[in-house]
């Protein structure tokens, strides 16, 4: 329903040439590139961290395991906003990070981290991490522990076991998680808008600006639709390549 409305609005307000114009706007193109790079980077970082986290989850015992689960679930539940603010407070000029680094004598001027692109990554990664950890964890939990025992009994050193036995079986979960994070990051404007500041625009923030300041519904609609189609296209391609859907509906 909302999609149909969006489409109607886009065509009605702009017409074909208007749509073309909106999509070739250099500001928009630049934003698309930035969004893709951002989403991809976040996905890759999440992939690495998520795999480590999931491995830690599986191998940890007792209270450590409970703590790791707790952190993951709480992080899932505490609203996006609160977490975003937490990061903002950490990174803002004269924030905790600045003060600490200056206190340690590492830097002298303020980092001014909040208004730069690198600032986007920690926040995004933090928010997206659970979406990566859970599918990888599912893959890991499905891995038969007797396979690890088998590998040990056959004299395999831990690294060989990890490389040849564990990693290949994590792949479906890792791919699903990476795509999910990538796709979510693509349309995810909240954190970048706060952390990246207005000078670093992503598609999400541009759409918001168009909508809020200019009230140019047509342009906002076109961009939203473009975003939806990009996301769907990526998903369909990924599904073809890796059978992600299977993994998700089965899990």
């Amino acid at each position: 329903m909302p999609l149909v409305t969006l489409a109607t609005r886009a065509i009605h307000d702009k017409g074909a040439s208007g749509i073309g114009h909106t999509l070739t706007d250099p500001l928009f193109e630049q934003a698309v590139t930035r969004t893709l790079v951002l989403a991809l980077t976040v996905a890759v970082i999440c992939l690495l961290l998520g795999t480590l986290y999931a491995l830690a989850l599986v191998t940890a015992k007792g209270p450590v395991k409970a703590l790791l689960w707790g952190a993951l679930l709480v992080s899932f539940w505490i609203s996006l906003l609160v977490r975003t603010y937490g990061w903002v407070l950490l990174l803002q000029p004269n924030g905790v990070l600045d003060k600490t680094l200056r206190g340690l004598g590492v830097i002298h001027d303020s980092l001014n981290a909040l208004q730069t692109t690198p600032a986007m990554y920690p926040g995004m990664v933090h928010i997206m991490l659970p979406y990566m950890v859970l599918p990888i964890y599912t893959s890991l939990a499905a891995l038969d522990p007797s396979q690890l025992r088998a590998a040990r009994s056959m004299g395999a050193p831990p690294l060989l076991t990890f490389r040849k036995v564990i990693l290949p079986q994590l792949r479906p979960g890792a791919i699903a998680g990476a795509i999910l994070v990538f796709v979510l990051s693509l349309g995810f404007f909240v954190t970048p808008a706060f952390l990246g500041g207005p000078s670093k625009l992503t598609v999400g923030t541009i759409i918001e600006r168009e909508f809020n300041s200019v009230y140019d519904f047509g342009a906002a609609s076109v961009m939203s639709l473009a975003l939806v189609f990009v996301v769907l296209a990526i998903y369909l391609v990924a599904d073809r390549l890796f059978r992600v859907g299977e993994h998700w509906t089965a899990g």
Partner: protein
Amino acid sequence: MSIKGDLQDVCVSLGGTPILHDVSLEIPAGSFLTLLGPSGSGKTTTLNVLAGFVSPQSGHVLFDGEPVDKLPPERRSTGIVFQDYALFPHLTVEQNVEFPLKARRVPRAERLERVNRMLELVQLPGTNGKRITTLSGGQRQRVAVARALVFEPRLLLLDEPLAALDKHLRESMQVELRGLQEQLGITTVAVTHDQAEALVMSDLVAIMRAGAVEQVGTPKEVYKRPRTRFVATFLGEANLLRVDDPLVAALGIGWTAQGGDAEVLLRPEDLRLERPEDAPDRPAFYVRRIEFHGARLRISVNPDIRSSTEDLTVSLEACTDAEAWQVGDRVALACDPRAAHVIDPENAAPPAMVSA
């Protein structure tokens, strides 16, 4: 290749719960020993102590007289076949069987040669490139065996290796597995809860209960001369009579004085039925129930037709004579007194835990 394995007074407890209690086992070089017991009796834990996955709180594990307590699993050189086979699903048959050789940095040419030789031995030649998921249960079992043997381990450990197969396949794999073991002469320890499998496959059977070994012996010994009541009832069907039961004397069974708590074991196949008029001095019984088991008839008899005391069970070959018996018939019970075996109640081992 073939080594002697020993467990000496091994005790294991997990989180305060005792799992194994003073388990001692001698596994002669080249023999096939089966650990048999109900679930929770500690047989898999015993296997894991041998493999090195479980470290005993006290006691020792010796391979050929040398203590291996300090060796981690990867340095003990034991080939293990897991109940679910634990094959690597993302690798081919060849890659699976090759894995232990890769772990040992065997050069590629030799690896291939040994994999092929092994696949021939388990009757799966030419399946190298097949994916594990396309194999049947029996084929997976063979791949698991090939993988466990390809690096010429000192000890082969089988954890319920046939439990996942159906009856017919299981029976033919029992013969095959035993044949392979004899051919290679590798010392083997298997775990099973299937009495028939244990009797058919093994040189020695160790019967476990509640974390302790109740008896070790050849299949014939443990079946015919069980040390404890538990062994007698766990292996096949058992008629147990107190030695002071008048029926024992009436059947002509002599016994050396052992106290009134001792029991006489009479296997159903050691009992015979006769017509009362042919054997007037035999104890008289009534037929209460006849079950047809194909090769055999299982007949429940009781001195009193409506008694609530436990029936004695007689197993007869299903020949024309035996099939003439009807429920309600009066019969005379006879037995070969030499087949009777007296169980001393003192033999019962102190268990590590109350059995579940």
